[in-house]
Structures are given as C-alpha cells and as structure tokens.
Amino acid sequence: LNLTDSPAEAALRGELTVWLSTNTAGTAPERREDWFDWRRAWQRTLASGGWCGVHWPKEYGGRGASITQSAIFFEELARAGEPLPANSLGLLLAGPTIMAWGTPGQKERFLPPILPADEIWCQGFSEPDAGSDLAALRTRAERVPDGWQLSGQKVWTSHAVHAKWCAVVARSNIDSTRHHGLTFCLLDLEQEGVTIRPLREMTGDAHFNEIFLDRAFVPDAHVLGPVGDGWKVAMTMLMNERSGLAFFWQVRLRQLLDRLVEEARTRGLLADPRNADRLGALQVQVECLRLTAYRGLTVLAETGQPGAEGSLTKLMWSRANQEVTQAAVDLLGLEALEGGSEWAYEMLRSRGNTIEGGTSEILKNIVAERVLGLPRGR
C-alpha cells in the first residue's frame, strides 16, 4: 500500500504541472452559454500540447498513458482550476467504444477529429419512456437501401446543439423487446430528419437537448458493431469509465469544501460546534471518497476490471456534493441564495448528480446485486 507516485506517474505529473503553469483556458466567460466554445478552444490548446486523450493508445493519437496516469491528468487539471475539454463524451465514451467495436475504416474516419474537438460527440441513449430502464427504448431503425432510417425521440442529450455526431441505440428489429434487436448507430446530426431542441435545466442552463428523429439516415458504414447487438456496444460505452475522470470531480469537490471551510472560518462560524461538526462530517465524507477512489483505481489498474469500489464512488461523490453545497447555503445564509450566487448554482446543479449517469437508486440495486450478491429485486 503506497500512495506516492511511481517514477512514471511522477514524470507525467511533473510534465503536466509545468505545462499547466504556462497554459490556461483563461477566465471563464461571463455567460454560461459561452462556456462550450471556451472549453472547445481549451481542448485545442490541450491537444496542441499533447494533453488530449491521455489514456488513448498512441496509434490513435493519444499518449498511451496508464489508467493511473490518466487519473493524475484529471486530478492535476482540476487542481489547476482548468475546465474539462469540450468533447469529453467523444474522448471518454464514444472514442473508446469505437476503438473497441469499430472497423478499421470507422476508426480512421471517426477517431482523429475527436482529439482537437473538430467533431463533437453526444450520446443518444435516454428516451422519454426509457430513462433508468434503457432497454425500454423505442426509437426505430428501419432498413432502407444502403443503411437505416431512424425515427423516434431522444432526451437529456448533453451538448447536442454543438455536436456533429450522436451515438444512438435504436430498435432495428421491430418485433424485438428489451435488450434484443437493438443496433448501435453513429448518427450524423447535420441532416434533414434531425431536429434538436434545447431543454432548460433547473439551474437555468440549457446543456440538455431533445432530439427528434424523423427518418434520419445512417449508412451501413456507420453502424457500430453487429446489427442486433447494439446492447452489448451500449454496455461497453456505459461501462467505459476507464479514464479516471472521476478524479477531476473528486478534486473539484475537495476544493469546494475547502473554500467553504475557509469562508466559514473567516466569518467566525466555526466557533459554533454545530457548524464545525457539520463541516467535519463533510471532510470525512470527501476524504473517504478520495481514498476509496484510489482503491478502485488500483484494482482497475491491476486487473483491468472495475472492482466493487468503482460502483461505490459515484454514490459517495453525488451525495457529498449535494451535502457540501447545501451546507454552504445553510452556513452562508441568504446571500448564497441570491441569483448569480455561485454556491446557489452549485447546489442546484448538484441535484442532477444523483440522477445523471445512473440514479443512486439504480446504483444501489447494482451494488446490492453484483457486489453483495443479494437477489434481484424491483
């Protein structure tokens, strides 16, 4: 057991911190709707320095870094206060899934434009009637000459208005049910038959979108994996947290808590033991998360498979993020609830954390069944 960097890990951390000391995304734009372009420019800067796709193999333009090194990348990026690159879905989800399932032609076509954010990706899985229950999805893929025509509706699709490509799971066998008869399509959003409508979230931002598909065309060459085996490809994508991205969010949470403790100290709020106890409890939560994440990373690095710890950290992080931001609002009082307050924004945003990427209820089912071995329930 050793929490210090290996020589290779220390080398990457050192090289990166030097690079980050002279390269920055700069101050965030005032309007949040301008953030995507800001992060896109930042991704180009990262790519020009060789810091995009750190965990991608070298043959695809990455650094070929280990999972631990990639986690270090995200850790240091967050520590430097820099944002994530704009094309995160492409870098972390679509890219690795194409590497796993794609034909040589697909890899050659799709992978290179992901790194410099020339082509943005989004993920078209959820539907109005298929959220946690993804296998209930109804978007249809109908056979036409040379390809498929997609019709249906996708929802909660982040960054679709900026995206060129959408990874869509559709039902290619109309008589199939559940996870059978699905096909994974790489859909060009820039065509007739695709309508994108932004959805405003409770924060006031509009990162989400609805996508309406009316006979949108996907050529055969853009079907990823075998026709009818889309569920397996989708699972590859959903299970593809092999990048250490969680370490970015974990550091961000730590920074948020440190700021809150400092703010509370400055205002003399720690003299009240109720406040001190609450902030102490949050430190325990946040540190247990960090250390459990390191254990998960070690298991992943050594076995190539996420262990039990991996499924726990999302539960821990999402809950801690909600509790830290709620504590901020409670301790700092009414000013934290004013429009434009960063604490208020963080609190509102955190409500999504226990929903996005698997609700906490679904994650607990997974933990209960796969980690504890409890019988399948409903």
Binding site: T4, A276, L279, G280, T292, R295, M316, L372, P375
Partner: protein
C-alpha cells in the same frame, strides 16, 4: 501508486480470518494464548525490541479481523500499549516493556482513566498507558488501582484505572494517532461482519414469497452500509500508512478514520439487527454482541463528534 494491501498484508488477513472464524463464543484467555503462539502481540513491535517489526497498518489489518470475528482476546489493548510505548516511550521504557509485551509475558492496555479496555485484574505482570491532558502516562500494574467496570460489552474486560507512573516523553499526538487507527480498524471489522450477517440473512429469509433482500428497503440499506464500511476501510488504510510514511498527516488521518469507522460500525450493526427482524433483537443471535462492541469502540479513543471537531480545528 498502489492503494491496496500488499501480498504480505493480505497473508496476515487470510491467516487471521482462518484462525478466528467461528470462535466468537470461546474463552478469550484460551484463544489469546494461541494468538501469542502465532506472534500477534509481537506484530507491531520493532525487531530490536523482540517484535516482528511491522507497523500500524499491519496492526490495523489484524484488528479488522479481530473486529470481524468479535472475539474476546485482549489483542487491541496489547497492540495499543505497544504502539504508544514504541512511538512515544523513552529507550528505558521501551526496553522495559516491549520485549515482554511481544512474548505475551506482560499484559498491556491503554485508554482514559475512566474506562480502559482489555485490562485484566492487574494481578499479573503488565502495564497500562493512560491518556491524560493530551499526554501519556505509563503505569506498572504494581502501582495501579484497577477497578473492573461492567459495560454492555460483556465479552471484553473494562476497568477504571488510576495510579502513578512515568510520562512517555515522545510525540503523544502521533502515538495516539497510531492507536486510533487500530481502534478504528476493529470498528471497520465489526461493520463488515454486521454487513455480511445482514446479507446472508436477507438472501435466506423469505417473506411475502421472496427473499427479504429482494426488497429495496432492505437491499438499499445494505448498499448504504457497504458504502460507509468501505469508505471507513479506505480511511483506515490511509491513516495506517500515514503513521509510518506521512507522520505529519497521521493525527488528522487517524481522527478522520476513527470518525468514519465509529459511524460505520454503529450504523452497520444497527442495520443488521433491523434486517434480522425479531431474530436480530434476540439474545441468541450474535448481532447484539457486534452492536454492543461497536458502541464501546465508538466511545473510546475519540468519539466521532470529537474527531470531527478536531478535523475542522486543524483544517485549511
């Protein structure tokens, strides 16, 4: 970076699990004599003082198994006394006590005057280390007044201890941190055992035509306990490592681990009683033993609120 146990540490865990399994009901003194043969009291004592030369992390690995088995040996007290003397004792104090603690020739215990765990009647050779006003006092059994105290945890000896002794001159905060890690580790073991008992029962017990573990009210509580127990285990691992490798961070890390483990053990053992229903509330089921030990363990070596307040006092 490798944040999991080493092969040697895993071997300690495996042999302890094998040795302790199914021995909850056995006489603690008999079991302890076997444990001495296995070298347990010597584990975290330096080689120059006749020990095996391992550290607090290995002691914690052993303590987790001791908690898991919920046995009645004085292991935790002996490890605590030995760690305090090793870390904060003078050369004479170390020479006087560590070799005898290592062989089991002397008993050892440590705590606050009001309630010390694992302390015998004081008739035999042994010592008690008391935490007083942030310092540490080493008291020989010969000059100690030991008054047994009956607690709800009837399978461990507790006593009020008074007497005159000598100060341990070294870094008391660091020494106490070492013991806190061991105490927290035992609590993690209790939490993991309680969870395993809950899961086994929930798979087996059928109500409304299905195993109760298929109900989310039950399975989600088990998942919550796993989150708490594994989080605390991670904190114990780090704190144990920090005691040797990052001593400047050890007091913070140990307080954090103790806070996490105290809460995890109390919640896990309470949840186990609830998951077992009426059986959980019975004297026959072992769950009340886990619950009671968790309550005592959580109360000694810094309660969760005490530990949390110390974190904020030192933070940023």
């Amino acid at each position: 970076m490798h944040f999991e146990l080493s092969d040697d540490q895993i071997a300690i865990r495996a042999s302890a699990r094998e040795f302790l399994t199914g021995r909850m009901e056995e006489d603690g003194d008999v079991l302890w004599r076997e444990a001495i043969e296995l070298g347990w009291p010597a584990l975290a004592i330096s080689e120059e003082h006749g020990g095996l030369g391992l550290g607090t992390l290995e002691a914690a690995v052993l303590a987790i198994e001791h908690g898991y088995a919920c046995v009645s040996t004085p292991l935790i007290g002996v490890l605590a006394a030995a760690r305090l003397i090793e870390v904060a004792g003078s050369a004479e104090q170390q020479d006087a006590w560590l070799p005898r603690l290592a062989t089991g020739a002397a008993d050892g215990a440590a705590g606050v005057s009001k309630l010390v765990g694992d302390v015998g009647d004081g008739d035999g050779d042994g010592c008690v280390v008391l935490v007083e006003n942030g310092g540490l006092i080493l008291i020989d059994h010969a000059s100690a007044y030991i008054t047994p105290v009956v607690t709800i945890d009837t399978h461990r000896r507790y006593a009020r201890v008074e007497g005159t002794g000598t100060n341990l001159p070294g870094n008391a905060d660091l020494a106490i941190a070492n013991v806190r890690v061991v105490a927290a580790a035992e609590l993690v073991g209790l939490a993991l055992r309680a969870l395993d008992e809950s899961v086994a029962y929930a798979k087996d017990r059928v109500q409304f035509g299905r195993p109760v573990g298929a109900f989310q009210a039950v399975s989600h509580r088990c998942a919550d306990v796993l989150v708490a127990a594994e989080g605390a285990r991670s904190a114990v691992y780090y704190a144990g490592w920090a005691c040797a490798k990052r001593p400047h961070d050890a007091p913070r890390a140990a307080a954090l681990a103790k806070a996490a483990a105290s809460d995890a053990a109390r919640e896990a053992t309470a949840a186990a009683i609830q998951v077992h229903g009426g059986v959980g509330f019975s004297w026959e089921a072992p769950l009340h033993r886990l619950y009671k030990r968790a309550q005592l363990g959580a109360a000694l070596w810094g309660t969760a609120p005490e530990c949390r307040l110390s974190l904020v006092a030192t933070a940023v």
